[in-house]
Amino acid sequence: MKGPNQEEEKEVEKVFIGGLHEHLTEEKVIDESQLVPNFADEIQKYGGKDVMTCLQCGNCTGVCPISLKIDYKTRSIIKYCQFGLKKYTLGTRWVCATCYRCYEHCPADLNPAEVMIALRHIAVREGIIPPFIKTAATNLVKYGQSVKPDPEIDKIRHELGLGPIHSQDPEYPKVIREIQVLIHASKYDKLIGIQEEVKV
């Protein structure tokens, strides 16, 4: 199966992977210093199942819709997790669409999608945050949604006979305020690095 085109593929990889992938594939020998002990336990702490149950059958990669578009192998990420190759796993996990097809097919009853979510939690806590996550988080505190409101969309909604989205609502500033308080209280703003956007 051939991907869309080379350039598009590169663009996707740049946004989601940030060049880390290329850097890693250059390594020829992996020595012990790169292995993080008890990485599987850390994943479990952040809500993933025990990656050690994986039998490496490759069913998850086969059913993954992302794997047909870019070089993304669910199975090999799980293998990195089993091995404790932490740095290999933290940069690339944002492409997972959490469609849970891998979970549906997994004969070991592991849930690879939730492992990916756990890896995101770990990555963010390690400060590895792709720019688009920051943008989405900023949008959330500013507009109450991760996508920026667009006058164009409002126009289309109007044409379709739909009401305006909630930014027009008189209650709107109050809701935003509430979101900001919550985000501040949960220290999410500090975690993502968007303190300046939150005015509490």
Partner: protein, 697 residues
């Protein structure tokens, strides 16, 4: 303590019925075992011995590195002879392991073997409390305290012997059942073999060749089947089901329903005229629906017994009341549509269960589309299609259009090693039968391309690895490490495209095949479940029957006199099944040769004067031991069939009248242990104070 004193009715030798009186405390010897470092590594055995020495009644307390060794046993014998010890307490490992050893040991010294009490310091103390040494020692002292106090109340018991009927029942006529029956018959025992199908042979009869040697399955099985039918010691009950089993080792009463064949077995000569005349054609189950048979049929040409059977469901006579062409065709007047099921009662001493397996049936809406695509078949179906006596005469064809497939995919681990469907186990034979089948296909059609989608190849047996190498090197069979993720059918050509990750290449592959064969795993058969219920056999989590010990008692069950053979105990190949069948036959022969078995006296006993005949024990007993009988002084009373009783104590615990006593676990003995556990002896805090502290804390 209102419990009645056990009078030990089963034993003629009465001994003192009451030792409980304060006057006479029997002399007790305590032997604390180090078990190397197993116990001594955690528990301070010296302290335990010192504590034991101070106890009332204890005359001797000794430590040993290995009490079970000859040296240790000699010391016990010496102590009994020198000090006149009347009760022995051994504080060592689980009684399951060494109770028989020590019983024999004290018997040698002239004591009744049941005057022994074992305290389990290893499994119940040192192993489980390895991190808390002080507390473990404290607990060990408590346990010995309890043990000694119980030992003072022990009473001599006498083991009983029951005669064994020198006849065996084998349930299931597959290769395991056949082998077990033949072995027992050749030893001179009478054997009944009950098979639910019209013919014996089981699954092995359906197979083509056997791995790794390539022997034709039916060619090596058929002689055994014939030998079995001819053996005068074997009564073959085919087309029959076991309905009820009552009794105990040596004396089982078995009820067998012999299903109506509608053909008299004594008159049928197997000529086949009836089948030729029969106008009804239906799918043959033996060929898994690929071939056809008549409504009056034998499943396969080598069937044993070679007696025709009418399939009532499809027979025209049973549907319309007419036809009867078979009756007209038969020259021996063997066909009889009026025949009825027959109930036979057999008396047997031992039972061998060989109820076999079923292959896993792929899910209706599964990934592999077995039910949707014609060209997806199972391994067993492939066996029939490449079998010379199969529906195609050994020519492999595609079900969709009858052409010879050129590209074949074999998919491994279907229905095995899958937690999602609850089959965690490896079916053990799929790797090898797939490899064997690919060899056969390549021999027939050398231009075929074969790809095996596997996860791990398990070629562990004698000659297996060599066969694996042969198909790779000589036949060029390709092995792809990855589980197929998606199968899609080309609506025109009916070819099947498989998408899978080749995990060793780290690439997603997509390839087209003419035929896909699912190597389906093994699972317990429906018949096994039914027989398991009738015999109250336990199963392991995978649903197969549980053996008594995974290593040392692999063919025994928890029920004495019932043995396991073949795939009903777990997936296995033909050599393993045959080996297990031979083992089961030899195990079953042991009590039949001896003509008697010893039955433990640790059974329940009913005090008839107290029993009101409520029948609660009859309902609750998992072994069917108690029965209600007319009492000697009138009324209905419970009576324990001792040979059936396992001494579990369910009846004694539940009896509202406290009329039932379990020997060696009498209320008196148990209360004694409890009192010892709560006594102040060797304790920093009085039990009452401690209880208060616990409540307030």
């Amino acid at each position: 303590m209102t419990a009645p004193e056990p009078q030990n009715k089963g034993t003629p030798q009465g001994e003192p019925a009451k030792i409980a009186g304060a006057a006479l405390v029997p002399k007790v010897g305590v032997f604390v075992c180090h078990c190397g470092s197993n116990i001594a590594g955690v528990v301070d055995c010296g302290k335990v011995r010192e504590a034991a020495e101070k106890l009332e009644g204890v005359v001797v307390a000794k430590e040993n590195k290995y009490t079970c060794s000859d040296l240790g046993q000699a010391e016990i014998i010496k102590a009994i002879k020198e000090h006149g010890i009347e009760r022995v307490v051994v504080a060592s490992c689980s009684p399951r392991l060494h109770e028989p050893t020590f019983r024999k040991c004290i018997q040698q010294a002239g004591l009744n073997p049941y005057l022994l009490h074992m305290v389990n310091l290893r499994e119940q103390c040192s192993w489980v409390h390895s991190h808390e040494k002080d507390k473990a020692t404290e607990k060990a002292i408590d346990l010995v305290l309890m043990g000694v106090s119980k030992a003072t109340r022990l009473e001599p018991l006498e083991a009983r012997e029951v005669p064994v009927e020198p006849t065996s029942l084998v349930i299931g006529g597959g290769v395991a059942g056949i082998q077990a029956a033949l072995d027992l018959a050749n030893m001179g025992f009478k054997v009944y073999l009950v098979e639910t199908q019209p013919s014996i042979g089981g699954k092995m009869a359906q197979l083509d060749k056997t791995f790794p040697t390539g022997d034709c399955a039916i060619c090596i099985l058929a002689p055994k089947m014939v030998e079995l039918a001819r053996n005068p010691n074997i009564t073959l009950l085919s087309y029959a089901d076991v309905e009820e089993v009552k009794g105990y080792i040596g004396n089982y009463d078995v009820k067998v329903r012999k299903k109506a064949r509608y053909v008299h077995e004594d008159k049928c000569v197997g000529c086949g005229l009836c089948s030729d005349a029969c106008p009804v054609k239906v799918d043959n189950e033996f060929d898994l629906g690929f071939g056809q048979r008549k409504a009056i049929y034998i499943p396969f040409p080598q069937a044993v017994p070679l007696k025709y059977t009418i399939d009532k469901e499809h027979c025209l006579h049973f549907k319309t009341g007419k036809c009867l062409l078979c009756v007209k065709a038969c020259t021996n007047e063997a066909v009889d549509h009026e025949m009825e099921d027959e109930i036979l009662t057999l008396k047997v001493g031992t039972i061998i269960v060989a109820t076999g397996y079923e292959t896993y049936v792929p899910m209706k809406k599964g990934v592999y589309k077995y039910w949707e695509y014609d060209n997806v078949i199972t391994g067993l179906e492939l066996e029939r299609l490449i079998n010379a006596s199969g529906p195609t005469g050994g020519h492999l064809i595609r079900p969709s259009d009858g052409t010879t497939p050129k590209r074949i995919a074999l998919v491994q681990c279907v229905g095995s090693r899958n937690k999602k469907i609850g089959n965690n186990y490896c079916s053990r034979v799929c790797c090898m039968y797939a490899i064997k089948n690919s060899q056969i296909i390549m021999e027939h059609e050398p231009s075929t391309e074969i790809a095996v989608y596997y996860n791990d190849i398990r070629a562990f047996g004698k000659g297996f690895e060599e066969l694996y190498h042969r198909v790779r090197e000589d036949y060029g069979v390709e092995f792809i490490r990855g589980r197929p993720a998606k199968l899609s059918e080309d609506p025109k050509t009916k070819n099947i495209k498989i998408r899978a990750e080749e995990t060793l290449l780290n690439k997603i592959t997509e390839r087209e095949f003419d035929l896909v064969v699912l190597s389906t795993g093994l699972r317990p058969s429906e018949g096994s479940k039914r027989i398991g219920k009738i015999l109250s056999l336990t199963t392991s989590p995978d649903g197969f029957f549980q053996e008594a010990h995974p290593k040392l008692r692999p063919v025994d069950t928890a029920m004495d006199g019932i043995y396991l053979a073949g795939c009903c105990q777990g997936p296995k190949d033909i050599p393993d099944s045959v080996a297990q069948a031979k083992a089961a036959a030899s195990s079953a022969a042991a009590p039949m040769f001896a003509k008697k078995v010893t039955i433990e006296p640790l059974t329940a006993w009913v005090n008839e004067e107290v029993c009101q005949g409520c029948g609660l024990c009859v309902e609750l007993c998992p072994y069917g031991s108690p029965e209600l009988v007319p009492g000697q002084k009138g009324g209905t009373k419970a009576h324990i069939i001792e040979a059936l009783c396992h001494g579990c104590g369910t009846c004694a615990a539940s009896c509202p009248q406290k009329a039932i006593v379990t020997r060696q676990f009498t209320d008196d003995q148990i209360y004694c242990e409890i009192q010892a556990a709560l006594s102040e002896h060797g304790r920093k805090q009085a039990p009452k104070k401690r209880a208060e502290a616990e409540v307030s804390g």
